[in-house]
């Protein structure tokens, strides 16, 4: 159980946080035939674009309403109209996803209202999905923008049913939080499909940002969940929400179509995956396929082999709430101690986090808490801290611009958890320092410094099944 604190500094130093609207635009990138647009000045888009390009090493669809000085004063509604029309002309999208920015929220146009009148004026675009999400830069963080956008996608595209619709019990909605990589989603799809279930992922980054080579380019997203798929989600048997951030979207789906939901606050770790497999087994009425039995055994074995190296290790993590929760909780299950935990925005999970304190802060705060740790875990911007601290850095989350394979990192499922143990355990092993004649006393210092470790047994948070 952690004390949740907010940094008291006026100046953020070495930001951990990224802005809401680019979180929102990432969610849109998991929708098929979509053109995400930031309603702001062109720099807002340009920075987001570079960020995603460097992380995914892909061409990224992201447009701008190109607000200039005059437009910011007069209001940006004209720019929205022109953007939509230009994008339709050039890219023929199925969906245009618009996130506001600080620039446009400062004035505060009624975009939703405006879009209604736009719809009336442009009946020829009735088939075009237009989703607008309010995501001011000066509030909340990346994860919030992502979550709001997923919720808005549900509200826009899933019909409101007066009475619960006929269900297809094998159809499963999976609301996938922004802490999941395309690789994670691929892994989850494999797992869910093994139970004979048919998952619809919202959003589905695995089809769009997994680095495949398309046959031809489109300027919009390629792959991802279609508007039509989303509109059918009300008829699914269950909704699985992955990450606390997806609760609001799951509730929205429940409200519109009475789809029951189960939230998994993480899928990293043994108990967490046991609960997931048990749930899939129950809703599908099928036993767990043999491969999961073997994978579970392999994970337990890896935990046993690995625990020698994790026990008592001191780790500092900087990550958005759901990712912090997933990875941090699991690491404490392996015997490590989270001595520094910094995150970007609030979440009900934070106070349950197995550390003394969780700080909503920046990488300067993390660096202060990371002196003498065995491992620093945060996104690629942690590289400077790691160098100054002379500790290894495990790159976690977005952006990961200085390593290959960001989209294919897998930390969910038995197998993903197993491989995470190997990756991190091998860092610890590589760091093992050989004893030498002069370190006999420093090697194992005073009791108050290296004394009993106090790790709480972390909880696997499982939502009661409706």
């Amino acid at each position: 159980m952690a004390l949740v604190k907010h940094s008291k500094k006026a100046c953020t130093v070495n930001p951990l946080k990224m802005s809401q609207p680019i979180g929102g635009s990432l969610a849109f990138m998991g929708v098929s035939g979509c053109m995400p647009v930031l309603h702001g000045s062109q720099g807002c888009t340009s920075f987001g674009l570079v960020l995603f390009v460097r992380h995914f090493r892909e061409a990224i669809p992201l447009q701008t309403t190109a607000m200039n000085e005059v437009a910011t004063i007069l209001g940006g509604l004209d720019n929205i109209e022109q953007s939509i029309l230009n994008i339709v002309k050039r890219a023929k999208p199925d969906v245009i996803g618009i996130c506001s920015t600080g620039v446009t929220e400062t004035k505060g146009d009624d975009v939703d209202g405006y879009l209604k009148s736009f719809r009336q004026r442009h009946p020829e675009l009735d088939d075009l999905g237009i989703v607008y999400v309010s995501t001011p830069d000066f509030k909340d963080a990346f994860q919030d923008g992502f979550a709001k956008t997923v919720k808005k996608l549900v509200e826009e595209f899933v019909p409101q049913y007066d009475s619960p619709p006929q269900r297809a019990p094998q159809k499963i909605n999976v609301l996938a939080g922004c802490h999941l990589t395309p690789g994670d989603i691929d892994e989850l799809r494999d797992i869910i499909e093994s139970f004979g279930l048919e998952p619809t992922f919202l959003p589905d980054l695995s089809g769009s940002l997994d680095g495949h080579i398309p046959d031809d380019f489109t300027p919009t997203t390629l792959g991802g969940v279609t508007k039509a798929d989303i509109s059918e989600m009300g008829k699914a048997g269950w909704t699985i929400a992955i990450g606390e951030q997806m609760r609001e979207a799951a509730l929205a789906l429940e409200a519109r179509a009475s789809v029951p939901f189960q939230l998994f606050d993480r899928l990293t770790g043994l108990g967490a995956n046991d609960a997931f497999i048990a749930f899939l087994s129950r809703i599908s009425g099928r036993p767990a396929p043999i491969k999961f039995r073997r994978q579970r055994g392999q994970l337990v074995d890896a935990m046993l082999d690995g625990h020698f190296h994790f026990g008592g290790k001191r780790i500092a993590i900087g990550a958005e709430p759901d990712l912090l929760w997933s990875v941090g909780s699991f690491l404490t299950e392996m015997g490590a101690e989270i001595v520094g935990a910094v995150t970007t925005t609030s979440s009900p999970l934070l106070e349950k986090f197995p550390a003394e304190e969780v700080l909503i802060g920046d990488l300067e705060d993390l660096e202060q808490r990371a002196h003498g740790v065995d491992l620093l875990m945060t996104h690629s911007h942690g590289r400077q801290s790691a160098e100054r601290l002379a500790v290894p850095l495990y790159r976690l989350g977005l952006p990961m611009f200085d390593r290959l394979g960001a989209a294919h990192e897998v930390t969910v499922g038995y197998r993903g958890t197993r491989n995470l143990i190997f990756s991190i355990g091998n860092i610890f092993i590589a760091q093992t320092h050989e004893p030498d004649p002069d370190t006999w006393r420093q090697d194992f210092g005073d009791a108050d410094q290296h004394g009993p470790i106090v790790t709480e047994s972390p909880l696997v948070q499982i939502e009661p099944v409706a």
Binding site: Q42, S46, T64, H381
Partner: protein
């Protein structure tokens, strides 16, 4: 805001800028901040440009006053290298919250400056204005002034919020900031007759260090590089240089010109890219210094170094000749640096696609610049099929371009080399040119291309064969139907920035009897964005003139 507006106007009037010289008074007033097409625009903002221009100053704190997006989404992502402090790589931002938007963020800004000085004690703090506080009216100049007085430390306001225009404008506004607040505020410990400034060089990938050792050898001191690997006091005392070199990107032409105006420091435009250009730049530096009083023997020594280095470079390029002879290089860039490498590529036996350049005369360079400049924007909008078509028609073996076309080129399975600012290799000076040839060789001969071009086992035809077929079918369809062909011709976009088609331009020329590129721009907007399509507009005008439709005056 009035100050900012004046600054912007001032920058638009920049007499050093070639583009401005071609503009009418009215157009200059409009400046570069015309509305870009919403939903069809790309590129950074003025804040981005200002940060790019000044962040290479290594020992100061760069504080971004704005919401998290402006710094949080982008920090520590640029390739300017340092030989000293790493403070410039630390991300500082006020990360303003809703409260600051409602009640103003000046207090937070002031406290941020204080925290930075308390914790990091830099020689100066640069404060960057962004859109939101500019809209809410935070007077950052006043806050900086108050903080500077209170903490007895330079606090420099950089007023270049994103919405005022594109990156280029931000570069120049950054120049204004240091002209107003930094240059001339300190004195160098000593001066020599060999002191120069280098303006507009950012030491990306450490390129300055491919040049500096030669200057060192000649006894020429870089009093200040603005701003690559610079320290604050160097920039602050740069007004004592004898001469300046402005690297040809023109990003900070206003700094060079105003330093000449204010401090009588002559400057020339030069480039470190390409062997000939590098030699020319060394000569120019020597010439200017001698003009300003350095001993004449400097030129002899300079020529000796040039002769030695050129020989060495050509010798090192020679071994690649056999492997590279006949290879066709497609150069695509919106910038102005890549054309200077042409000579080296030709010396290594390569051909530049689409030109008949035999020797790298100034004229040839101009032609390449012309050719490539126009296509700069276009490439981003190409489908792979179009890309493939272009590459096939050009019979290119490798493409050199900026990072933005990287994924398109690679997915078209085309060897590609990054020559923009995100590259990891340094291509400046003599060493850099050899490195470039080496990198081209490496990229071209990487067996990976043979691999990635293998057809997938489930494909009966390759992607390329299908593309060929589709292209042929389209061509046949157009050949069979002249009306459709004409429609296709007229539908092609000329100006990517403003989305203006051939047809629209032709119609405007006909309807309004337009005779100059400026006139076409005024009427249709085409050519008013990046300007890359102005030659194409001129070509249309010329064609119409030839066809006898109207008299045409060739555009600049």
């Amino acid at each position: 805001m009035t100050t900012l507006a004046n600054k912007i106007q001032d920058v638009f009037n920049e007499p050093g800028c070639g583009k401005n010289q071609g503009k009418s008074e009215k157009e200059r007033k409009k400046g570069c901040t015309k509305q870009l097409a919403p939903g069809a625009a790309a590129g950074g903002c003025a804040f981005d440009g200002a940060k790019i221009a000044l962040q290479p100053i290594t020992d100061v704190a760069h504080l971004v006053h704005g919401p998290i997006a402006c710094e949080g989404n982008s920090w520590d992502n640029r390739g300017a290298k340092t030989s000293g402090s790493s403070l410039y790589r630390t991300g500082f931002t006020t990360d303003i919250a809703e409260n600051d938007v409602v009640f103003g963020g000046e207090k937070r800004l002031y406290r941020s400056i204080k925290e930075i000085i308390d914790k990091y004690d830099p020689p100066a703090v640069f404060v960057y204005q962004t859109c939101v506080p500019a809209m809410t009216g935070d007077d950052i100049a006043a806050v900086c002034k108050a903080a500077a007085a209170k903490f007895e430390k330079p606090v420099i306001p950089v007023i270049s919020p994103g919405f005022v225009g594109p990156k280029n404008l931000g570069n120049k506004l950054a120049g204004e900031a240091i002209l107003d607040h930094v240059i001339g505020t300190m004195e160098p410990e000593y001066t020599t007759p060999y002191d120069i400034n280098i303006i507009g060089e950012y030491n990306l990938a450490g390129e300055l260090w491919q040049v500096k050792p030669l200057l060192d050898e000649l006894g020429i001191r870089i009093l200040a590089c603005i701003s690559g690997d610079a320290k604050y006091h160097e920039v602050a005392s740069s007004h004592r240089a004898r001469a300046s070199m402005m690297v040809c990107s023109k990003a900070m032409i206003n700094v060079a010109r105003k330093m000449e105006e204010r401090y009588e420091i002559p400057f020339f435009e030069g480039s470190f890219y390409g062997i000939g250009d590098m030699s020319d730049s060394l000569r120019e530096i020597a010439r200017l210094l001698i003009e300003r009083g350095a001993p004449a023997e400097l030129m002899e020594r300079t020529e000796a170094v040039i002769a030695r280095e050129e020989t060495r470079a050509w010798e090192r390029i020679a071994p690649y000749k056999e492997r590279l002879t006949g290879k066709r290089v497609l150069l695509i860039t919106g910038g102005v640096k890549s054309w200077s490498v042409v000579a080296a590529l030709q010396e290594a036996g390569m051909e530049l696609v689409g030109t008949s350049v035999k020797k790298s005369t100034k004229e040839d360079k101009e032609r390449i610049k012309e050719l490539m400049g126009q296509d700069a924007h276009m490439i981003d909008d190409m489908t792979p099929r179009e890309m493939y078509k272009m590459l096939r028609e050009a019979r290119a073996d490798i493409m050199l371009s900026g990072g933005r076309s990287q994924f398109i080129a690679l997915k078209a399975k085309m060897p590609w080399l990054d020559i923009n600012q995100e590259r990891h290799h340094a291509y400046a000076g003599y060493e850099g040119m050899v490195e470039l040839v080496h990198e081209i060789d490496k990229a071209l001969h990487n067996p990976v291309w043979a691999q990635v071009r293998l057809p997938a086992p489930w494909e009966e035809t390759t992607w390329e064969e299908r593309a060929d077929k589709a292209i042929a079918a389209e061509a046949a369809a157009l050949a069979a139907d002249p009306a459709k062909a004409e429609e296709a011709r007229r539908g092609k976009n000329i100006c990517q920035c403003r989305s203006v088609s051939v047809g629209a331009i032709e119609d405007a020329i006909s309807a309004h009897a337009l005779g100059s590129v400026e006139a076409v721009t005024g009427e249709t907007g085409a050519g008013g964005g990046c300007g890359g399509c102005q030659e194409k507009i001129a070509a249309i005008l010329a064609e119409r003139a030839e066809a006898g439709a109207l008299p045409a005056s060739k555009a600049a």
